[in-house]
């Protein structure tokens, strides 16, 4: 099984043997990869029933639900990583979703299409119509992407939530490279970006400041 390039980069951000929640896990390709190759305790949330059934039939632990309503059920720091791949722009309340991700995960890995990519800017400027590209092929009236943002927008929202962006990977023309989240170049040339985020308190803890015991819920597993 080969992962699509974005998922491969996300998988590489995950430490072996960790606890992972993939929000919007689809047919479970990433979870399957993480469980089989990386000894990860992999869980998923998926909106489509077909996706959920496919995942459970593969032996994965997946529940039907969505990012907007179901993240609130999980306890604090229940996972080492919470992954949200190309989904945050389709949620009703992206800021709340990101806050929940940071609450239930020690780290969050969030990817988003970049609405400030130069092709988007050019289309809007030249045609005066909402851009339609290969990466975002839907017309404005039938797109599931109701909250589009730019790389910079996302970085600023994360900052506003007291989150640290530990890594930003820019995706463009099938290539990936590390960038600074607020780099104007990255905001123009990224088709999409992947952010590795952490709560500021979690980062202090990880840096050896405190020796906080893992919460009982996570320690039991």
């Amino acid at each position: 099984m080969t992962l699509r390039p974005e998922l491969r980069i996300i998988a590489d951000m995950v430490a072996d043997g960790s606890r992972v929640l993939d929000v919007g896990c689809g047919d479970g390709d990433l979870l399957q990869h993480l469980a089989a190759q990386r000894k990860v305790d992999a869980r998923g949330i998926e909106l489509s029933q077909a996706g959920v059934n496919a995942c459970v039939a593969r032996g994965l632990s997946v529940v039907q639900g969505d990012a907007d309503s179901d993240l609130a059920d999980y306890p604090d720091s229940a996972f080492d990583y919470v992954i949200l791949s190309q989904t945050i722009q389709a949620t009703r309340l992206p800021r709340e979703v990101l806050r929940q991700i940071a609450r239930i995960g020690r780290r969050g890995i969030v990817s988003t299409p970049n609405f400030a990519h130069w092709r988007m800017r050019l289309q809007l400027l030249s045609r005066g119509r909402m851009p339609v590209t290969e990466a975002l092929p839907n017309a404005w009236h039938d797109t599931p992407n109701i909250h589009m943002c730019s790389v910079r927008d996302f970085a600023e929202m994360a900052e506003g939530l007291e989150l640290t962006i530990e890594r930003t990977v820019s995706l463009s023309g099938g290539k990936a490279r590390d960038v600074k989240p607020l780099s104007p170049r990255a905001n123009i040339f990224s088709e999409a970006a992947i952010f590795l985020i952490a709560r500021k308190d979690e980062r202090r803890r990880a840096n050896g400041g405190e020796t906080t015991a893992a919460p009982s819920s996570a320690a039991r597993r």
Binding site: D41, R43, Q49, V52, N53, C55, V56, A57, R58, G59, L60, S61, V62, V63, Q64, G65, D70, D73, Y74, P75, A78, S217, A218, R220, R221
Partner: protein, 384 residues
């Protein structure tokens, strides 16, 4: 004690366990049963490591004949589609156990049995039992079979309630659990339907205050009406419409009388008639009561997630779109509580118009999903 009834499948064994002695089984009500018989069936072979045992919990009117021909009705077992060689609960790989619940009427001690203290049938002197009492009896059986850990405990409807009770009360004995088409508490509407059934039984003059066995009669009419009302709740409006519509039974026009003009009436009457041939009226009172009393959150300080605090088992919760008796929202409540307890849970909802009974029916997507779950659990536990 082995029983020498016919064995339609080579691997099936029909047996009974007799426990006698003071306080053989202490019940939630505080009452005790000094003599308890548990009728059970097993399918397949227990492996040397004793790690391949799966316990199946039956629903309200089910019994220990999960996958074998029921000797009383001559019909195949209630989960025949799920249990057998090569099926989801593959008897070539797993040792499958199913027992009749306490309070039942298929061999396990219940109200129709003789009270050793009086020499007469218990009738209404049988103690009121709970879902947890049923599970306690199952634990005694599993102990008797020398099984420390069940690879899976599975069941639908009231069977699902027992699965939830296993998860809450005996979490250390489970590798996995499958509560299907069930709820962590019986809803007001469901209690209401049960009360209609009980009142129908008790309104039958032949019920005789529960003494019908001593008097040599049987409240067939009341029990049949109880079954008819309950049977409607197991289906869905869409399924009834699809199966029967307004079709007439053996006639071209309505009779302007109260015969079973409509096919749906004839069908329900048949359901009622066949039910009274196999089920005890007092058992029906007791078992419906046990379901009514079930409220797992209330048993754990009002918070369902507390019930699952010690659970390490993998859980697969399942519901069906057209089930209005145990609707998907009830399954989601269980899932939310499991998530809050950081349990390892999967949740699937199957699209079908067949209503609550769907878990007993041929739904290939359900089989595929359940097979994936149980195979992953077996692989995880090293069961070949």
């Amino acid at each position: 004690m082995p029983d020498d009834r016919a064995q339609p499948q080579p691997t099936e064994r029909t047996q009974t366990l007799r426990l006698a002695g003071p306080r053989a089984l202490t019940l939630d009500s505080g009452q005790v049963l000094d003599e308890v018989t548990i009728a059970y069936n097993t399918y397949g072979e227990l492996n040397a490591a004793r790690s391949n045992a799966i316990f199946l919990c039956h629903a309200l009117t089910g019994d220990q004949h999960a996958a074998s021909v029921n000797p009383l009705t001559g019909r195949s077992g209630w989960w025949d589609l799920m249990v057998g060689p090569g099926k989801v609960f593959d008897t070539n790989r797993f040792f499958v156990i199913s027992s009749n619940v306490i309070g039942g009427c298929m061999g396990t001690t219940g109200p129709k049995d003789i009270d050793p203290a009086t020499g007469k049938p218990y009738g209404l002197t049988f103690p009121v039992i709970t879902i947890r009492d049923m599970v306690r009896a199952q634990v005694l059986l599993v102990d008797h079979l020398g099984i420390a850990e069940l690879l899976c405990v599975a069941g639908g409807s009231m069977g699902g309630m027992q699965v939830l009770e296993w998860m809450a009360s005996f979490p250390e004995r489970l590798v996995s659990a499958m509560p299907i088409a069930t709820a962590a508490k019986h809803s007001a509407q469901n209690i209401a339907f049960h009360e209609v059934g009980r009142q129908a039984i008790m309104a039958d003059p032949d019920w005789r205050g529960g003494h019908y066995l001593t008097d040599g009669v049987f409240p067939s009419k009341g029990l049949a009406v109880a079954r008819m009302a309950a049977h409607i709740t197991y289906l869905s409006e869409a399924a009834l419409q699809r199966k029967f519509g307004r079709e007439l039974q053996d006639r071209a026009t309505v009779s302007y009388a109260f015969d079973a003009d409509f096919q749906v009436e004839s069908y329900l009457r048949h359901q009622g008639r066949s039910f009274v041939e196999r089920f005890d009226a007092n058992s029906y009172l007791y078992i419906t009561r046990a379901m009514d009393y079930f409220d797992l959150a209330a048993d754990h300080g009002g918070q369902l997630s507390q019930a699952f605090k010690w659970l390490k088992a993998r859980v697969c919760v399942a519901s069906f779109t057209s089930d209005w008796l145990f609707p998907t929202i009830e399954a989601k409540r269980i899932v939310h509580a499991l998530n809050a307890a950081a349990a390892n849970v999967s949740f699937v909802e199957f699209a079908t118009d067949t209503g609550h009974d769907a878990f007993l029916l041929n739904i290939p997507e359900m089989f595929t999903t359940f097979r994936g779950f149980i195979d992953a659990v077996a692989a995880h536990r090293g069961v070949k």
